[in-house]
């Protein structure tokens, strides 16, 4: 890993603040505050490594390391952001480019876009500057909210352009010609007048010693040769050879392995281990440890031995108030919340309640439900930690460096250790889906590392712990009401959603303070439907606490609210006797961007053409993460109720697209994730504990029942928008609406079907009778 900042420089950042503030005050939001907040006034040379700025490291052989401080969890972000740098540097996008997740927490790496929701290219003003400053200093390096491209594409363009300009300046000096007479192409500086040329690798060391330009010129779009053209992913060659190091693959000398047993009922504490002495004598077992009073770790020379011994554990847990809870009692709380008038108001525009109760208008009203679900990342939760001479070093698949750092302190604190230096390594992630911004497993590894100081300890959860003792997307329910005007279109819309606040639950576990549950925007995203023209609109939410730990889950509120609202719009269309596409077009008459996406997906799917009996098409649209995405599902429902999703068509306006093939891949993946959730996924609770344990009872789509997917990217004038999550949002509603079209049955709760096991690793999904 290249060292961007020496330790000394790192410690000086506080002192440097005054100077940087001065630069910002004088120069506004210029290069320094955009790319190198803390002023790497010059690059750095360390042996063969020439660091031109926080994002670009050149070697004399012409290879380039692009630092991409975002977690690669399958979304292709390492490729997309490296493309941006290569474009501005005039590098060919080939094997010369290597991507690393930098170890050091340079302030320029901060995900301040995610927190401030201001695009770097549009950022201005003291508040934004201060916000990015603070988030940069705290090392807020996070990957989520579909925000990595939006937050970094512009700063990394600037970084690439600055690097190119420094190489040009170095070449001008070397050739003794004005820089303006030079050109770059494919990693080489040319002097056309004399025919001389110099490779970047030969200029790297000299360039790194030059001051960075204040405002490097960016390429005109018309000159782009990489951005917008499909590029092969930088990580795939290694992935087909089985070479990437996921967290699970971290191996350190003489390391210990641990398997965990967490309380079956969340919130229960451990009373005692009834057979600790016996478990300690199991083969390979080194330690049996109680963590934070409520989890048990078995530590052994091998994970298999640790896991085998953990199965032997006979544990007694404390009783909790949740011991009597089950899916029905938890669901009843949602129903009670919908029936109550107590709610947190979000939008109250016009007088929706009055219009709805005035009589005269046709009123459509429906309640919807979704269950708890879990992430089930293919790589189970794991982390590796070591405490050496008071310094902690941790390797983990993680989406968030701040919560990671906090977990190190928390875990080692349980052992009474306060580590001095902390070094964090983010490995490849075997799926993440929001799960890996909570660092429960890192805290566990750090506790054990402190207990076995000097030896590395890897904690890995079994699949059973991952599914049954993990973190969950909340259950949710909504009551939606609309009054239809004379033309059948809604004149009033009233939406109430009941769910458990994500920020309240995840904050209590991961943040130094616990955000209050009311007004959690993640609970209502997808509920407002501001893009639909409606005269009066009211949206409200109600936090329904349970003992279940709730966490981010790919697309958060959209994962349920879009199912609710887009099913409901279909119900309104049916009540008005209107075609679902035409109805949405009428409601989106003032939203050309949405209309373009709708029309594109309708064209793709051949909306309106005849389908055989038992087949149906359903449509849904959402605006989320600044993208607009619409999908049409085609389903077949057999006489016995078996439902198959045959195809899903998707059109997305994702703004400016950097790597089209990866936007398509994210839509494909989102639709598959969404199809699993729509048809199959459900976490149920009995006696306070999660019932599901592994992939035989927490079912997911497999190849045999995966729909075909067709994706179209709609041309757009917008800057890049999010793509990691939008692909999921409309899927469940599109499928449910298709089932309605095929059968006339309106399904208002997920999963839409029951999964029947038909053979080894074979299932089918059947609508409930």
């Amino acid at each position: 890993m290249p060292k961007i900042l020496s330790r000394r420089t790192f410690l000086l950042t506080g002192a440097a603040l005054g100077g940087t503030a001065l630069v910002a005050a004088v120069g506004g939001v210029g290069f320094l505050s955009m790319v190198d907040v803390d002023g790497l006034q010059a690059g750095a040379v360390d042996g063969d490594e020439a660091t031109l700025n926080a994002f670009v490291v050149l070697h004399s052989d012409g290879s380039v390391v692009v630092n991409v401080p975002r977690t690669e969890m399958g979304q292709g972000i390492h490729t997309g952001l490296a493309m941006v740098v290569a474009e501005e540097m005039d590098l060919p996008f080939d094997k010369r480019i290597k991507v690393e997740f930098p170890t050091e927490a340079h302030p320029a790496y901060s995900a301040w876009f995610n927190a401030l929701q201001v695009r770097p290219e549009e950022a201005s003003g003291a508040v934004v500057w201060l916000g990015r400053r603070v988030l940069g200093q705290m090392g807020f390096i996070a990957t989520g909210a579909s925000g990595s491209t939006m937050g970094l594409w512009h700063p990394m363009r600037v970084a690439g352009a600055a690097a190119r300009q420094m190489l040009l300046a170095a070449a001008a000096e070397r050739l003794d010609v004005p820089a303006r007479d030079l050109a770059t192409r494919d990693g080489v500086v040319h002097h056309p007048a004399s025919g001389r040329s110099l490779a970047y690798g030969d200029l790297a060391q000299a360039a790194a010693r030059l001051p960075p330009p204040d405002a490097p010129a960016l390429k005109a779009r018309s000159d782009w040769r990489i951005i917008g053209r499909p590029q092969r992913r930088v990580d795939i060659p290694a992935k087909v050879r089985g070479e990437p190091v996921f967290g699970m693959d971290v191996v350190l000398p003489d390391m210990l392995h641990a398997s965990m047993r967490h309380a079956p009922v969340f919130g229960a504490g451990l009373v005692r281990i009834r057979n600790e002495a016996a478990v300690r004598t199991a083969p390979g077992v080194v330690d049996v440890a109680v963590i934070d009073g409520c989890h048990v770790a078995v530590v052994a020379a091998s994970w298999w031995q640790a896991e085998e011994a953990a199965w032997l554990l006979d544990l007694e847990w404390t009783r909790t108030e949740a011991d009597g809870e089950n899916s029905e009692t938890l669901g009843a709380r949602l129903a009670a919340a919908l029936a109550s008038d107590e709610a947190y108001g979000h939008i109250d525009d016009g007088d929706a309640a009055a219009v709805l109760s005035s009589g005269g208008a046709v009123v459509v009203e429906a309640d919807y439900r979704v269950p708890f679900v879990t992430h089930a990342c293919m790589e189970t939760m794991n982390a590796t930690a070591i405490l050496r001479d008071g310094a902690a070093e941790v390797w983990a698949p993680s989406q968030n460096r701040v919560t990671m750092q906090a977990a190190v302190g928390r875990g080692m604190g349980w052992a009474g250790v306060s580590p001095g230096e902390i070094t964090l390594h983010v490995t490849m992630n075997g799926g993440a889906f929001g799960r890996r911004s909570d660092q429960d497993v890192i805290a566990e590894a750090c506790f054990l590392a402190a207990r076995h100081a000097g030896r590395a300890v890897k904690v890995m959860w079994s699949r059973e712990e991952d599914i049954g003792r993990g973190l969950y997307r909340s259950q949710a329910a909504a009551r939606l009401r609309a009054a239809l005007g004379p033309d059948g279109l809604p004149i009033a819309y009233d939406a109430l959603v009941a769910s458990q606040s994500i920020f309240n639950s995840m904050g209590a576990r991961n943040m130094p303070f616990t955000p209050g549950p009311d007004g959690d925007y993640l609970m209502i995203e997808g509920l407002d439907k501001l893009h639909y023209a409606v005269g009066s609109r009211r949206t409200r939410s109600r936090h329904v606490p349970t003992h279940m730990p709730i966490h981010f889950w790919r697309s958060n509120g959209y994962s349920f609210n879009t199912f609710f609202t887009e099913s409901f719009i279909d119900e309104c269309a049916a009540a008005a006797g209107a075609d679902p596409l035409a109805y949405r077009r009428a409601m989106l008459r003032e939203s050309p961007r949405h209309l373009a996406v709708l029309d594109r997906v309708a064209g793709l799917a051949g909306w309106g053409s005849a389908l055989a009996p038992g087949r149906g098409r359903g449509i849904a649209i959402e605006e989320c993460y600044r993208s607009v995405v619409a999908q049409i599902a085609e389903v077949t429902v057999a006489d016995d109720g078996e439902v198959r999703v045959d195809r899903i068509f998707c059109a997305i306006d994702a703004g400016l697209v950097i790597n089209p093939d990866q936007v398509i891949a994210q839509m494909e993946g989102g639709m598959l994730f969404g199809t699993t959730t729509a048809l199959m996924s459900e976490i149920t609770v009995q006696d306070g504990a999660v019932v599901e344990t592994n992939f035989h009872d927490f079912q997911v789509q497999r190849l045999a029942n995966a729909p075909d997917v067709v994706v179209a990217i709609v041309e757009s004038d917008e800057p890049p928008c999010g793509v990691g999550e939008p692909g999921i949002a409309p899927t469940a509603a599109a499928i449910s609406n298709a089932i309605f079209a095929a059968t006339g049955r309106r399904l208002r709760s997920l999963p839409l079907a029951v999964t029947e096991t038909t053979g080894e690793r074979r299932t089918r999904t059947v609508l409930r009778a």
Partner: protein, 153 residues
């Protein structure tokens, strides 16, 4: 002591004969391509070829592979590092997202194409039961057909 070959190299280990092959590969032999995903032969992330047959290695006691030839994802390329047709097809179709489950898919498909060089979609459905949570299935299907075509070329 159990002796076998892994990716054409001889291996012998002295471990509990009930230890699953997956964990012998990962812990005793340092071969990390096969992954733990479920431990109950459901997800296929741990699949390896045992005498050519795709098998979930999490459920195979090491004591039962005496004398067997084991091939993991690391052994799909030839001795010079040239990728197999399945791996090439995987790159051409840009299949992997997170990539964690892909070693198991590559193994399952290698076995499928050995038995059936040009499988139909129905035969693919029958043969490939691995789990991918990122949703790469559409590309996997395309890549299988492409690998079949490459194999004919």
């Amino acid at each position: 002591m159990v002796a076998f070959t892994v990716n054409d190299a001889p291996a012998d280990v002295a471990v509990d004969p009930s230890k699953p092959l997956l964990w012998v590969l990962r812990e005793d032999l340092g071969i990390l391509g096969p992954k733990y995903g479920c431990g109950i032969a459901q997800c296929g992330a741990c699949r390896v070829l045992i005498d050519g047959v795709s098998t979930p290695s999490c459920g195979v006691p090491i004591g039962s592979v005496e004398g067997a030839s084991i091939v993991t994802v690391e052994g799909l390329a030839d001795a010079d590092g040239n990728l197999s047709v399945v791996q090439r097809a995987w790159i051409e179709e840009q299949v992997p997202q997170c990539g964690f489950c892909q070693p198991g898919f590559l193994i399952a498909v290698t076995d499928l194409l050995r038995r059936n060089p040009d499988p139909t979609d129905a035969e693919i459905d029958e043969a490939v039961t691995n789990i991918c949570r990122c949703g790469t299935y559409p590309r996997i299907r395309r890549a299988i057909h492409r690998a079949a075509a490459l194999g004919r070329a």
